[in-house]
Structures are given as structure tokens and as C-alpha cells.
Amino acid sequence: MSMHRRTFLKSLGIGAGAFALSSAAMPRRARAAASTDRNFVFAYFSGGWDTLLSLDTRDPNVFTEARVGETRIELGWDRLTAEYRTPVMPSGSNILFGPAAAAIAPHFDQICVVRGMSMDTVTHEVGRRYMLTGMVPRGTRAAGSSMGTRVVTQQGDLRPLPHLVSRAEAYNEGDPPFASGLAVQGSTDLLTALQDGPAAPQGVLRQRIDAYRLAEARCDPAALDKRGLLGLVSGSQAKARSLVSSGVARHFQFASMTDPEMVALRTRYGFTGQQTNSGSQAALAFQALKHGVAQSVTIELADGLDTHDTNWSTDQAPTQAAGWTALAQLVADLKAEAHPSGGTLMERTTIVVFSEFGRTPLLNSRDGRDHSLCGAAMLLGAGVPHNKVVGASSDSGMNPRAINPMTGAADDAGTVLSPTLVLASVMETAGMSTDRLRVRGLPCLMA
């Protein structure tokens, strides 16, 4: 069931005036071509994932320990527990998944794996912000708006929380305020943000304060509102009230022992109470899309992947696996959930899964893996080609290979994939302008 902003404003009797203040200079209507019926999930695996264990794996029978000197690729899976030693390729799949990504493999019918993406950095902040925004950062500072902000800008303000961000970064550079990410640190935080605190004004006090804010005239706009900040403050206060009064918090009461929906959610996603883990993050995204709370959700699905030392053998695979398992549950739920306009939610949702870069194909002297310029990503759902691999890394050293932009196959005369190209493709396939990214999408990445 979708909920519209104006419904909440009417329920407060405030009207649209305060909202108009917040973005009076910015267009609020959706672009004509942008798909307003598309949800987005941007799922981040933090720390730099070992793609040999997931998206850019190798056959251990071919890439053996004996051939490391030749291939410069050292799987090292003998150091891992038994469940992480065998890649997975379900029947009918064109994609070989690494052992840590076994959980997502059954959903190959929704997946496009992107390999050989050149990250141009081995710095966490730079790689992360590059993938978040689609633009090369200025030093370590993000350039441009994050993807959630971009897509919401073009779709328009369609939901109570158009752009929800949990345990990730969000940026707004030059886009309207309504598209800014509402950033929280997990479901507990979100719940706190959507409910009044114990001492928040209530009843008569609340009504009179809201009326005061509406009536208060800013007599010196040049002094404080030259850049629209006054409007932002007023609009944000009104938006905060509408969110609290809308009651959307009930969809995130994950600790409830009496709500059957919450009990089932905890069981499916594998978390307890308001615990923050991969499962609860994925559950947050599902609830936000299912109940029409958000149109774009950015979540951190896994953390702690920066395994330079022996923690590679103990932590990398299980941490990735937790993220992939949570994602698999999210995809399963989206496939099962009907969309109000027909079909399923998954058919109207595009998911982008990424990390800041990959890890070196050779183990270092501490039996860990360092940062690699060669990255990978996964696209799922609406608008992306399914059961397909686009791009490749070299079989010697795992360096990005150029590809044919039409077919996605390796082609030395072709184009090297970059986050910008991948994200532009995601936007273009949703009917959105990619002007800000300054490139067009690649046909091989668009269904």
C-alpha cells in the first residue's frame, strides 16, 4: 500500500505551504521519461570484498596452488572452512558464483554480475563515494549526489521517506532537498526518528507550535534565506511532523513480540529484537519498499571486509555470506510480494550491490588480501539483463579487461568498465537522464 505525502499533510491540516518553502526553486515534478514506478536498493558491502569468493571467482581445479606463479591468482580456499571451498553454479545459470555467495546464486534469474570494473583507487573513502555517486571524488570528498538522491530527484517526491539510508553515506549536491537521504544507523535509529521522544511536545502544545511555525514570517529573506536555508528548516520541521503522525514507525517495530509480521520478519532474516545486522538491514529495506515508505533505500549489508591479515581466512567469507544471505532473503520477499499495479515488487525494483574495491588475488605475507583496483558489482531486478555476466578480469593477475559495450564480452579494443558507466546504465534503463554523470549507459548493461 503506497502512502502519499499530501495525505499526511492533510491529516495535520498544515497543507503544502511549508513544503513549498523547502524547495520552491527546485522542480518537484518527475521528469517525463523517468520511471516513477521503480524502486531502488543500493546495498553496500563495507571494507572491500574479496571477489574471488563471490562475484569474480575461479575454478579451483584450474587455478591451482601450483599455477599461482603463472596466474598470479591464489584462491587460498584451503585456509577456509569446508563450506567456502567450492564455487556454485545452479542448473540453468550462466554465472559461476564464489562460495561465499552461494545464498544468492539461486536468484540467478534476476542477476547481472559485473566484473572487471576499474575502481581507479584503493582508498576506502574514495572507492565508496565513487560507487555511491557514480563520480570520481574530489580527493576524498564525494562529488555529486549519491545515487539514491539522483533517482529520487528525477522521480519526484513520491513517498513519505523518498530516500532512506541506513548505515551508509548519502550526498546531495545541487538536487532538491526532498531527495536528500534520511540517514539512520539501523532500525532502532529509524524507529526513534519516526516516533516522538518522551518529552516531545504533544497535544495543545504541539498544535500551537506547529501553528506558530506556519505563521512565522521571515521578514528578512536576504539575510537568512538567500540559499533557501529558511525554507529547508521550515520544510524539514513540517516533514518531521508528518512522518511521526503518519504512523509508518509501526512497520519497523522489529522487536515486537505480538505483531505476527515482525515475528515472521525476524525469523526469515535471522535477527533478534532491534539488533542491527545484515538481516535486519535487508528487512528494513523490504519493509520500506513493501509498505511504500521509500522509493530508494541505501543500506550497508556487510561490514568488516577489510581483511589484510589472518582475519581474511576467518572473517571474509562468513561476513560476505551473511550479506549475501540477507540479500537473497530480500530478493525472495520482493519476488513474493505483489505490486499494487500488478506483477511483483521485484519486477519494479532495481538492486545495485557494491563494495569500494576488490582485494588482491595474491595473499600477502600475513595471509590476508590487500586492496585491488579491480572491482565488481551485482545488478538485480528491473531494467538489467538477467542471468548474465558483463565484463571480465584477466586470468593473470585479475586486472580489468576492456569489453564490447554492446555484448559485454571481453574485447581489448573496447571499453573498461567503471562505476560511472555501470550506474549510468542503471539510471538510463529506468528512463532517467544521465546528464549529471556525463556518460550514457552501456547497452550490455541495460535490458
Binding site: E125, T140, R141, E169, N172, P177, S180, L182, A183, V184, Q185, D189, T192, A193, D196, G197, P198, A199, A200, P201, V204, L205, R208, I209, A211, Y212, R213, A215, E216, A217, R218, C219, A222, A223, L224, D225, K226, R227, L229, L230, L232, V233, S234, S236, Q237, K239, A240, L243, V244
Partner: protein, 214 residues
Amino acid sequence: MKKIFALSLVLGACGAEPSPQVMMPPDHMMMPSPSPSPSTSPSPSPTPAPVQDGRSTRRVSVAQMRKAIPALFNGLTWTGGNPRNPVPMFDLMARTLGEANYLSSTEENLEPNPIFAKFMDDMAGQVCAAAVAADRAAPAAQDKMVLPYAADPARNLRFLRLKLHGIYVPENSTEGLENLQALYDGVLGETSSADQAWTGVCIAMLTAPELMAY
């Protein structure tokens, strides 16, 4: 060059076709000042509103609020959790409010977003209620934080306007206070509680752009 320029102005203004003869424009068109000469009759244009150049307005940071609230309210600040062991909420919610932790984020998010607005309402509700209660218990006016002139609402509003917003309102003026007065009167009328009314005024002023932006 000056004469040619002047000629072009005259001809442009008149819409006439260029003439081979050089004509001198009226003196006032050559004056460097944009002000019309006394010989012209149009009414003077309105004085343009002063434009503030320089640094653009920004929202207060979490660090600024963390220091400002106790300074304004004699040590009172926003707390939460177990009442017997309260935790400073500016610390607990710092990340959500946009403060950089210099681990995963190195930049302060100073956007006045709805989450920030909502939590500032929570903060103001708690701090103002506590301040009003403390003031009622304080014996001397100089010890009161928000109600030194509670018996004279207009004077107390001027006091709060100066204390919280840094805006001086002369004794014989109500500029900028009309809506606050209406807020006070409205809450008092509906609740019959002056404490509630002053709490409402305090919340409204604490969360106003005059304090939240600079």
C-alpha cells in the same frame, strides 16, 4: 568614444534611425551616478533590500548545540536512557544527527533534514520543560533561565528574544514577537498553565531558524 556611446544611447532610446549628424545627449545621461538629475520627473526607485555577501547561511552543528544548550540553560542538556543514569543524547545521536566520527565519515552533515528537526523538537521539549520547572523553584530572578520576568509576558518575550536569538527588541516595540505572543496566549488559554505556555514559547524559539542557522 564617449560621444559615440552617448549618441548610440540617445538613438536607441528614441528608436530613431541613425543620423549622420552628431547629437549630444542630455547631460544626465553622461553622469556616472545612476541617480536621475533634478530636471527629470520620475519618482525615485525604491531602495533595494540589502544583500548579504560573504559566507552563506549554515545550520548549527551538533558540537555547537552540545555546547550551547548547557550554556543557555545553566548546565541542563538533552539526556536520554535510564533516568537514574542518563546519557547525553547529543553524544548518543551524534552520528544520526550528522556529526562526523572520523572513522566512517569525515564530513559534517549540516543539512537541516527532517531527522534533525525531529530530534531538535525532542531536545527542546525536554530542555525547556526542565528549565521552566527549575525556574519555578529558583528564588531569585537572576537565577532564572527562561522566566525572569514571568509576571510581564511581553518583557519576558523580549528577554528570550535577546537571549536565544540575539535580537534586541526595544521596550516599546513588539517587532518579531507577535506570533510568539499569540503562541503564549493560545497555550495559556487552552491549558490555563503558564508553565505550559512558556515551555511552548521556549520550544518554538529554541528550534527557530534564528537559533538553528547563522
